[in-house]
Subunit: 483 residues, 2 copies
């Protein structure tokens, strides 16, 4: 007993020491481990970012190059003149103006140059006016001018149209005006300072813009174009995959297909991105197939319709997971619906892929419109099937509801797709895309064609007339009746 | 005949002249008219922007005031020292750092101060190192340092986490390093310049931050909080209006209700806005009911679930306009469905309003959970109705599909709402919201309670236990069977 009493605190103490030691040890060993983990994670993410888009690495090197060039200019100017304040503006301008895409760089550069020019001029004028009013009045007038200009320009930054394109310019306006007007120099020095600031800012902006445009440029217009096309493509992928996926048993569904199917979700939230891209794209000069006055606003319309279609695709996706629709569809219904739904879904996917492909290649295509006729036929068949009373009356409504809901959403999507086709067609006319006809190319050939290259179409004239007016068609009355 | 021949060109000429004159006249009179129109439009938009949110006007005045203060500081400093280059940094800092919301201003100000501090120190070190290598080696080493720092920092701006919070800081880092390292001054001057730049930037940042915080501040945290609450409220409005709207004839629908109903659409595209707001809110100190470590990330979760619910509400809205669902629902079905759909829809609206209200008041509420039980009962009834074979078998599937689709979407929304309630409850726990019970207050009383004020609850303990654990309930098994 005694032994026990004595040994017990001992062992506890020992145990306590051991625990503490282990904890301390763990903490000490975990610190470098954590650091190591962080470094490894950082390296991995760096690698991932670089691999995802190697142009990011080029961009970083370009910025380094531009800053080196302008810094050396500043360094030598400072050495020779002994006073490098003005040249400093060139360094600042390059750092601030140089953005990833050409559109953003041009937007900032032009905003900065024009604003500096106007505000510098007004600042000099304000300085003279204040100077006239004597030593007492000068600071009062200058403060008043500064207050009015800063307040007005700040409020103007709330105007949505100005904010979208000239936000940076308005900020620089306030900055330059305040610096020039309130500089407190003598008159001749103010003008000299304003001139120096303007010229160095022009030098800095031009260095940034030239390097951005001429060394592996990233055109945001082209990015925007391909974003819109790839969004349509993602919906097409979902629809082509949906037919088979929907009719599979739960455990058959593979994870790969699952992630493939979820791609469309990124389309749901791109509104803000698209608006920013359209704004920046409008700063860019003619590049590749995109002219200076390329109809970027029309892309926003196509984007909005694609998003509306994506909401419906989301509803379709919910049918795969929804509680109420999780009932097992009766086999007879499944049998009958299977083919119709699969057909319509994959037809829709095919049409959207065609639209996306035409857009990607900046080509006018009538194939989508022709294919849409097939799609409408498939929708009509599905609708007929829904009206077949003999088929449905045997079952409980709740059992057939999943199949019927899927069918009705699919029929709904036909309208969305038609709207997309219309707006893409309008876009092709506005942007003067050339005609092509990819109907002659089998699908696997199409995917091999390089996106930016020209395509020789052997069957150009067969479907040519379709592009010039409303689609002439024998099947038209039948299609109309579906709408 | 001759007369005709002669007179005809004359009259044509006269007509031509008249047309030209009229055109020229029109052009001349239209110019000032256009200008006038522009001015009027501008004035109207200014008025609208000011009325929508008078804090915009305050913000403009605040910026004007801050710039006046710092400009005068600069002006007198320049007068006395004859050389105002360092003080200039204070003006620049105020203009660049002063943003509309406290979070944005603090984020920029802190980024600017800390980056300038670190980069300035490293710049001085780089300058010394380069100095050691002699006259030839100096510019080479400086260029190399500049290139490495600029490239690395530019690439780091691509890291999503760094971009979200420290993008501005990384840019300022490049800027300061380049300016200090490459300044070309003698050693003692470099340190003096770095010190001056740092102190004036701290002065500028502090002026901007103090004026932003202490004169009618706009807290982005509070804005974010109310955005999330009002998004939920918008969905509630739609659902409460939907029941009656859906069953009205087309020509009965008023335009007012139409626009009221469309409010929810703004919820579909707020993802990017919410993410930005959450980031900026995390810079803000404790204000009102929001602490420094308020769980802003949890708001993103609630926001995402609200958006998911909005997609389903969008599907519901499509039912009102869809082609396939535009068939007239048979009267018997309408009669039977009317009450159930209306009940479920308005129950859902009520629950969401309760959630939104609790959130707005930063109160923990169990009422929503209690109400959800009612909602689930209503959903259960609707589901039973869908299973009543005797009701449906008389009709063509296509005729009853609209009603059935609406019902199934409504039942689907119950899950969404439950998820929202869960996450809002989690948020209330994380943020230590106080308990309240609004079930005792009739709805019109509730709307009179000032949002920020405290509410005395007379019936606090009745529903209190609900908050502490999983909802104990007799109706539970029945509800579970619905899921």
């Amino acid at each position: 007993m005694d032994m026990n009493v004595i040994s017990s605190p001992n062992s506890e103490k020992k145990g306590g020491c051991t625990t503490n030691c282990t904890l301390a040890n763990k903490y000490l060993t975990s610190l470098p481990k954590k650091l190591k983990d962080n470094v490894v994670n950082f390296a991995l993410e760096t690698k991932k970012l670089g691999q995802e888009d190697p142009r990011r690495i080029f961009h970083a090197l370009k910025v380094g190059f531009a800053i080196t060039v302008v810094s050396l200019f500043y360094y030598f100017q400072a050495l020779y003149n002994g006073f490098g304040v003005s040249a400093m503006w060139a360094v600042i301008t390059v750092v601030v103006v140089f953005e990833y895409t050409v559109g953003a760089t041009l937007g900032k550069g032009l905003n900065r140059m024009i604003s500096t020019c106007i505000a510098g001029f007004l600042g000099v004028v304000a300085h003279y006016l204040a100077d006239l009013s004597g030593d007492t009045g000068e600071p009062i007038l200058l403060a008043l001018f500064g207050f009015i200009v800063a307040s007005t320009m700040t409020f103007m930054r709330f105007f949505p149209k100005l904010k979208a394109r000239y936000d940076y310019g308005l900020m620089i306006f306030i900055l330059t005006f305040a610096l020039v007007a309130v500089s407190g120099y003598r008159d001749d020095e103010v003008i000299k300072m304003a001139q120096q600031r303007l010229s160095t800012i022009i030098i800095g902006s031009c260095i940034a813009m030239i390097i951005c445009i001429f060394i592996s440029p990233v055109w945001i217009g082209a990015e925007f174009h391909f974003l819109i096309a790839s969004n349509i493509h993602k919906l097409a992928n979902f629809l082509q995959g949906f037919g088979s996926e929907y009719l599979k048993m739960k455990d058959e569904k593979s994870k790969e297909e699952e992630t493939f199917r979820q791609q469309y979700k990124s389309v749901l939230g791109t509104k803000t991105t698209e608006e920013t891209m359209a704004n920046l794209a409008s700063w860019e000069p003619s590049h590749g197939k995109f002219k200076f006055s390329h109809p970027w606003k029309q892309y926003l319309k196509v984007g909005a319709l694609t998003r509306m279609c994506a909401y419906r695709v989301d509803a379709l996706n919910n049918c795969l997971n929804s509680d109420i629709l999780q009932v097992e569809t009766p086999e007879e219904i499944q049998e009958k619906m299977k083919e119709s739904c699969k057909k319509l879904s994959s037809e829709l996917g095919k049409v959207l892929k065609e639209v996306s492909l035409g857009l990607k290649k900046t080509k006018k295509t009538a194939t989508a419109k022709t294919q849409l006729r097939e799609t409408k036929k498939a929708a009509h068949e599905l609708k007929m099937l829904l009206q077949e009373t003999s088929l449905w009356e045997k079952f409980n409504l709740l059992d057939v509801l999943p199949a019927a809901t899927v069918a009705s959403i699919l029929i709904d999507i036909v309208d969305c797709v038609e709207n997309i086709i219309e707006e893409v067609h309008e876009l092709a006319s506005m942007a003067d895309f050339k005609s092509m006809d990819s109907a002659v190319c089998p699908e696997n050939q199409l995917s091999q064609i390089i996106v930016v290259g020209e395509v020789t179409t052997t069957d150009k004239n067969n479907h040519g007339p379709d592009l010039k007016g409303p689609t002439p068609s024998v099947a038209e009355p039948e299609i109309k009746s579906l709408q």
